[in-house]
Symmetry: C2
DNA sequence: CTTTTATTGATAATGATTATAATTAGCAAT
DNA sequence: ATTGCTAATTATAATCATTATCAATAAAAG
Protein backbone atom coordinates (compact mmCIF):
# COMPACT_ATOMS: atom_id res chain seq x y z
CA UNK A 1 0.00 0.00 0.00
CA UNK A 2 1.59 3.20 -1.16
CA UNK A 3 1.96 6.19 1.09
CA UNK A 4 -0.73 8.76 0.81
CA UNK A 5 0.22 11.20 -1.89
CA UNK A 6 0.75 14.84 -1.07
CA UNK A 7 -2.46 16.71 -1.58
CA UNK A 8 -2.22 18.29 -4.99
CA UNK A 9 -2.86 21.95 -5.60
CA UNK A 10 -5.20 20.99 -8.35
CA UNK A 11 -6.85 17.87 -9.54
CA UNK A 12 -6.30 18.58 -13.17
CA UNK A 13 -3.42 20.33 -14.79
CA UNK A 14 -4.09 22.95 -17.38
CA UNK A 15 -2.14 25.21 -19.66
CA UNK A 16 -3.42 28.20 -17.71
CA UNK A 17 -1.91 26.99 -14.50
CA UNK A 18 1.38 26.29 -16.23
CA UNK A 19 1.41 29.77 -17.71
CA UNK A 20 0.79 31.40 -14.37
CA UNK A 21 3.41 29.27 -12.67
CA UNK A 22 5.91 30.03 -15.37
CA UNK A 23 5.25 33.75 -15.30
CA UNK A 24 5.71 33.92 -11.57
CA UNK A 25 8.88 31.88 -11.65
CA UNK A 26 10.23 34.11 -14.35
CA UNK A 27 10.51 37.12 -12.08
CA UNK A 28 12.23 37.56 -8.76
CA UNK A 29 9.86 40.11 -7.34
CA UNK A 30 6.55 40.14 -5.61
CA UNK A 31 3.78 40.47 -8.15
CA UNK A 32 0.06 40.90 -7.78
CA UNK A 33 -2.52 38.78 -9.52
CA UNK A 34 -3.19 41.75 -11.76
CA UNK A 35 0.48 42.04 -12.60
CA UNK A 36 0.69 38.42 -13.62
CA UNK A 37 -2.46 38.72 -15.64
CA UNK A 38 -1.09 41.74 -17.49
CA UNK A 39 2.20 39.95 -18.01
CA UNK A 40 0.46 36.99 -19.59
CA UNK A 41 -1.67 39.20 -21.77
CA UNK A 42 1.44 40.89 -23.07
CA UNK A 43 2.71 37.48 -24.10
CA UNK A 44 -0.58 36.80 -25.87
CA UNK A 45 -1.36 34.08 -23.40
CA UNK A 46 -5.03 34.37 -22.70
CA UNK A 47 -5.79 33.51 -19.11
CA UNK A 48 -8.80 34.80 -17.25
CA UNK A 49 -8.22 37.22 -14.42
CA UNK A 50 -10.27 35.12 -12.03
CA UNK A 51 -8.15 32.12 -12.86
CA UNK A 52 -5.00 34.01 -12.00
CA UNK A 53 -6.47 34.99 -8.66
CA UNK A 54 -7.61 31.48 -7.89
CA UNK A 55 -4.41 29.79 -8.92
CA UNK A 56 -2.13 32.12 -7.00
CA UNK A 57 -4.32 31.79 -3.93
CA UNK A 58 -4.23 28.04 -4.02
CA UNK A 59 -0.50 27.98 -4.51
CA UNK A 60 -0.03 30.30 -1.58
CA UNK A 61 -2.26 28.16 0.62
CA UNK A 62 -0.15 25.21 -0.29
CA UNK A 63 2.88 27.35 0.53
CA UNK A 64 4.41 26.73 -2.83
CA UNK A 65 4.70 30.47 -3.13
CA UNK A 66 4.90 33.31 -0.64
CA UNK A 67 2.20 35.91 -0.20
CA UNK A 68 2.40 39.30 1.43
CA UNK A 69 0.19 42.33 1.55
CA UNK A 70 1.57 45.56 0.17
CA UNK A 71 0.98 48.75 2.08
CA UNK A 72 -1.91 49.65 -0.16
CA UNK A 73 -3.67 46.39 0.48
CA UNK A 74 -2.75 44.42 -2.58
CA UNK A 75 -1.79 40.80 -2.21
CA UNK A 76 1.57 40.07 -3.75
CA UNK A 77 3.06 36.72 -4.61
CA UNK A 78 6.54 35.47 -5.20
CA UNK A 79 8.11 32.09 -5.73
CA UNK A 80 10.44 31.19 -2.93
CA UNK A 81 13.68 29.66 -4.08
CA UNK A 82 13.98 27.66 -0.95
CA UNK A 83 10.78 25.84 -0.37
CA UNK A 84 12.31 23.88 2.45
CA UNK A 85 11.06 25.96 5.31
CA UNK A 86 9.82 28.98 7.09
CA UNK A 87 11.58 32.22 6.28
CA UNK A 88 11.15 35.97 6.08
CA UNK A 89 11.78 38.80 3.68
CA UNK A 90 13.75 41.97 3.55
CA UNK A 91 12.03 44.08 0.96
CA UNK A 92 13.16 47.33 -0.62
CA UNK A 93 10.20 49.62 -0.74
CA UNK A 94 11.68 51.58 -3.63
CA UNK A 95 12.70 48.94 -6.13
CA UNK A 96 11.14 45.80 -4.75
CA UNK A 97 14.42 43.97 -4.31
CA UNK A 98 13.73 41.06 -2.02
CA UNK A 99 16.15 39.17 0.13
CA UNK A 100 15.08 36.00 1.84
CA UNK A 101 16.31 35.61 5.39
CA UNK A 102 15.93 33.11 8.16
CA UNK A 103 15.56 34.04 11.77
CA UNK A 104 15.79 31.37 14.42
CA UNK A 105 15.80 34.18 16.94
CA UNK A 106 12.38 35.33 15.80
CA UNK A 107 10.95 31.87 15.78
CA UNK A 108 12.07 31.32 19.34
CA UNK A 109 10.85 34.67 20.51
CA UNK A 110 7.36 34.39 19.03
CA UNK A 111 7.12 30.87 20.33
CA UNK A 112 8.05 32.01 23.80
CA UNK A 113 5.77 35.03 23.87
CA UNK A 114 2.86 32.97 22.62
CA UNK A 115 3.41 30.25 25.17
CA UNK A 116 3.73 32.71 28.03
CA UNK A 117 0.33 34.08 27.16
CA UNK A 118 -1.38 30.78 26.58
CA UNK A 119 -1.74 31.14 22.84
CA UNK A 120 -1.79 28.15 20.51
CA UNK A 121 -1.68 27.68 16.77
CA UNK A 122 0.30 30.83 16.39
CA UNK A 123 1.53 32.07 13.09
CA UNK A 124 3.60 35.05 12.33
CA UNK A 125 4.95 36.80 9.34
CA UNK A 126 7.88 39.12 9.58
CA UNK A 127 8.62 41.14 6.53
CA UNK A 128 11.00 43.99 6.92
CA UNK A 129 10.62 46.97 4.63
CA UNK A 130 13.40 49.43 3.98
CA UNK A 131 15.55 51.06 1.36
CA UNK A 132 18.29 48.98 -0.19
CA UNK A 133 21.83 50.11 -0.71
CA UNK A 134 21.58 50.96 -4.39
CA UNK A 135 18.35 52.89 -3.97
CA UNK A 136 19.82 54.86 -1.12
CA UNK A 137 22.59 56.17 -3.35
CA UNK A 138 20.15 57.85 -5.66
CA UNK B 1 9.87 84.18 17.69
CA UNK B 2 8.43 81.07 19.25
CA UNK B 3 9.71 77.61 18.48
CA UNK B 4 7.87 75.81 15.78
CA UNK B 5 5.05 73.87 17.39
CA UNK B 6 4.80 70.14 17.01
CA UNK B 7 2.71 69.37 13.99
CA UNK B 8 -0.76 68.68 15.29
CA UNK B 9 -2.98 65.95 14.00
CA UNK B 10 -5.56 68.54 13.25
CA UNK B 11 -5.71 72.27 13.18
CA UNK B 12 -9.16 72.51 14.58
CA UNK B 13 -10.86 70.27 17.07
CA UNK B 14 -14.36 69.13 16.34
CA UNK B 15 -17.01 67.09 18.04
CA UNK B 16 -16.63 64.47 15.32
CA UNK B 17 -13.01 63.89 16.15
CA UNK B 18 -13.78 63.68 19.83
CA UNK B 19 -16.50 61.14 19.20
CA UNK B 20 -14.24 58.96 17.12
CA UNK B 21 -11.45 59.17 19.67
CA UNK B 22 -13.79 58.34 22.49
CA UNK B 23 -15.32 55.41 20.68
CA UNK B 24 -11.94 53.91 19.94
CA UNK B 25 -10.70 54.40 23.46
CA UNK B 26 -13.82 52.77 24.78
CA UNK B 27 -12.93 49.37 23.38
CA UNK B 28 -9.83 47.26 23.81
CA UNK B 29 -9.93 45.59 20.45
CA UNK B 30 -8.89 46.38 16.94
CA UNK B 31 -11.74 48.00 15.09
CA UNK B 32 -12.18 49.03 11.49
CA UNK B 33 -13.31 52.44 10.36
CA UNK B 34 -16.61 50.86 9.47
CA UNK B 35 -16.92 49.36 12.93
CA UNK B 36 -16.36 52.70 14.59
CA UNK B 37 -18.79 54.36 12.25
CA UNK B 38 -21.47 51.79 13.06
CA UNK B 39 -20.72 52.16 16.74
CA UNK B 40 -21.22 55.90 16.61
CA UNK B 41 -24.42 55.54 14.64
CA UNK B 42 -25.79 53.24 17.29
CA UNK B 43 -25.16 55.98 19.82
CA UNK B 44 -26.99 58.44 17.60
CA UNK B 45 -23.79 60.34 17.00
CA UNK B 46 -23.84 61.37 13.40
CA UNK B 47 -20.37 61.30 11.92
CA UNK B 48 -19.70 60.83 8.24
CA UNK B 49 -18.00 57.65 7.16
CA UNK B 50 -15.35 59.56 5.28
CA UNK B 51 -14.56 61.53 8.40
CA UNK B 52 -14.03 58.35 10.38
CA UNK B 53 -11.63 57.09 7.74
CA UNK B 54 -9.75 60.36 7.62
CA UNK B 55 -9.48 60.77 11.35
CA UNK B 56 -8.32 57.24 12.08
CA UNK B 57 -5.77 57.49 9.32
CA UNK B 58 -4.33 60.68 10.65
CA UNK B 59 -4.15 59.36 14.17
CA UNK B 60 -2.38 56.26 12.96
CA UNK B 61 0.13 58.33 11.00
CA UNK B 62 0.83 60.30 14.12
CA UNK B 63 1.19 56.97 15.91
CA UNK B 64 -1.39 57.90 18.48
CA UNK B 65 -3.11 54.66 17.63
CA UNK B 66 -1.97 51.37 16.14
CA UNK B 67 -3.01 50.13 12.75
CA UNK B 68 -2.85 46.63 11.35
CA UNK B 69 -4.30 44.91 8.35
CA UNK B 70 -6.60 41.99 8.96
CA UNK B 71 -6.25 38.89 6.84
CA UNK B 72 -9.17 39.93 4.69
CA UNK B 73 -7.62 43.27 3.88
CA UNK B 74 -9.38 45.55 6.31
CA UNK B 75 -7.40 48.15 8.19
CA UNK B 76 -7.97 47.88 11.91
CA UNK B 77 -7.19 50.44 14.57
CA UNK B 78 -6.67 50.29 18.30
CA UNK B 79 -5.57 52.71 20.95
CA UNK B 80 -2.32 51.64 22.52
CA UNK B 81 -2.30 51.98 26.27
CA UNK B 82 1.38 52.59 26.26
CA UNK B 83 2.14 55.29 23.82
CA UNK B 84 5.72 55.45 24.97
CA UNK B 85 7.27 53.31 22.34
CA UNK B 86 7.48 50.64 19.74
CA UNK B 87 5.71 47.41 20.51
CA UNK B 88 3.95 44.44 18.98
CA UNK B 89 0.74 42.50 19.33
CA UNK B 90 -0.39 39.04 20.13
CA UNK B 91 -3.83 38.75 18.66
CA UNK B 92 -6.42 36.03 19.09
CA UNK B 93 -7.87 35.31 15.69
CA UNK B 94 -11.07 33.95 17.24
CA UNK B 95 -12.10 36.58 19.74
CA UNK B 96 -9.82 39.48 18.97
CA UNK B 97 -8.18 39.56 22.37
CA UNK B 98 -5.06 41.60 22.02
CA UNK B 99 -1.98 41.55 24.19
CA UNK B 100 0.69 44.16 23.74
CA UNK B 101 4.23 42.86 23.94
CA UNK B 102 7.66 44.29 23.58
CA UNK B 103 10.51 42.53 21.92
CA UNK B 104 14.02 43.84 22.21
CA UNK B 105 15.16 40.61 20.62
CA UNK B 106 13.17 41.37 17.50
CA UNK B 107 14.34 44.93 17.30
CA UNK B 108 17.93 43.81 17.46
CA UNK B 109 17.48 41.06 14.97
CA UNK B 110 15.75 43.17 12.34
CA UNK B 111 18.33 45.87 12.87
CA UNK B 112 21.13 43.42 12.36
CA UNK B 113 19.65 41.71 9.32
CA UNK B 114 18.93 45.05 7.69
CA UNK B 115 22.41 46.36 8.32
CA UNK B 116 24.05 43.19 7.01
CA UNK B 117 22.21 43.66 3.76
CA UNK B 118 22.80 47.36 3.44
CA UNK B 119 19.22 48.39 4.07
CA UNK B 120 18.32 51.72 5.63
CA UNK B 121 15.17 53.28 6.96
CA UNK B 122 13.81 49.92 7.88
CA UNK B 123 10.50 49.41 9.52
CA UNK B 124 8.88 46.26 10.65
CA UNK B 125 5.68 45.17 12.19
CA UNK B 126 5.37 41.91 14.01
CA UNK B 127 1.89 40.88 14.91
CA UNK B 128 1.44 37.34 16.03
CA UNK B 129 -1.90 35.69 15.39
CA UNK B 130 -3.06 32.66 17.27
CA UNK B 131 -5.79 31.23 19.45
CA UNK B 132 -5.94 32.39 23.04
CA UNK B 133 -6.37 30.12 26.01
CA UNK B 134 -10.06 30.67 26.58
CA UNK B 135 -10.93 30.24 22.92
CA UNK B 136 -8.98 27.05 22.77
CA UNK B 137 -11.12 25.47 25.49
CA UNK B 138 -14.23 25.77 23.41
C1' DC C 1 -20.02 89.78 14.02
C1' DT C 2 -17.33 88.73 9.93
C1' DT C 3 -13.84 86.53 7.53
C1' DT C 4 -10.94 82.75 6.52
C1' DT C 5 -10.35 78.24 5.51
C1' DA C 6 -10.04 73.58 7.91
C1' DT C 7 -13.28 70.14 8.28
C1' DT C 8 -17.21 67.70 7.28
C1' DG C 9 -20.36 64.69 4.78
C1' DA C 10 -23.30 62.89 1.03
C1' DT C 11 -22.25 60.64 -2.81
C1' DA C 12 -19.76 59.11 -6.84
C1' DA C 13 -15.70 56.79 -8.18
C1' DT C 14 -12.05 53.50 -7.72
C1' DG C 15 -9.81 49.27 -7.45
C1' DA C 16 -8.97 44.86 -5.76
C1' DT C 17 -11.18 40.66 -5.10
C1' DT C 18 -15.13 37.33 -5.24
C1' DA C 19 -19.42 35.27 -6.87
C1' DT C 20 -22.11 33.59 -10.77
C1' DA C 21 -23.29 30.82 -14.28
C1' DA C 22 -22.48 29.09 -18.69
C1' DT C 23 -18.82 26.87 -21.37
C1' DT C 24 -14.68 24.19 -21.92
C1' DA C 25 -11.67 20.53 -21.20
C1' DG C 26 -8.95 16.86 -18.11
C1' DC C 27 -9.03 12.16 -17.67
C1' DA C 28 -10.77 7.58 -16.56
C1' DA C 29 -13.77 4.13 -18.26
C1' DT C 30 -16.14 2.32 -22.09
C1' DA D 1 -11.85 7.23 -30.50
C1' DT D 2 -15.94 8.32 -27.71
C1' DT D 3 -18.50 9.28 -23.63
C1' DG D 4 -19.46 10.95 -19.03
C1' DC D 5 -18.36 13.16 -15.00
C1' DT D 6 -17.05 17.22 -13.11
C1' DA D 7 -12.96 20.29 -12.34
C1' DA D 8 -11.44 24.34 -14.32
C1' DT D 9 -11.99 28.39 -16.93
C1' DT D 10 -13.90 32.70 -18.31
C1' DA D 11 -16.53 36.89 -19.03
C1' DT D 12 -19.10 39.59 -16.38
C1' DA D 13 -21.60 41.33 -12.59
C1' DA D 14 -21.42 42.08 -7.82
C1' DT D 15 -19.00 43.29 -3.36
C1' DC D 16 -16.67 45.79 -0.31
C1' DA D 17 -13.34 48.70 1.64
C1' DT D 18 -11.40 52.89 0.73
C1' DT D 19 -10.67 57.43 -1.68
C1' DA D 20 -11.95 61.56 -4.30
C1' DT D 21 -15.09 65.37 -5.04
C1' DC D 22 -16.91 69.49 -3.78
C1' DA D 23 -20.48 72.23 -1.80
C1' DA D 24 -21.91 73.24 2.91
C1' DT D 25 -20.55 73.97 7.69
C1' DA D 26 -18.26 75.70 11.56
C1' DA D 27 -13.67 76.51 14.25
C1' DA D 28 -10.62 80.20 15.27
C1' DA D 29 -8.82 84.74 14.42
C1' DG D 30 -9.56 89.63 13.81
Amino acid sequence: MPLKEDKKIVERSTRQQSSILEALYGVDEFKSAQDIHALLSKKKLKVGLATVYRTLQKMAEKEDIDAIKSVDGETLYRHCGQNDGHHHHLICSKCGLTITVEGPAIENWTEKVAKENGFREVSHKVDIFGVCKSCKKK
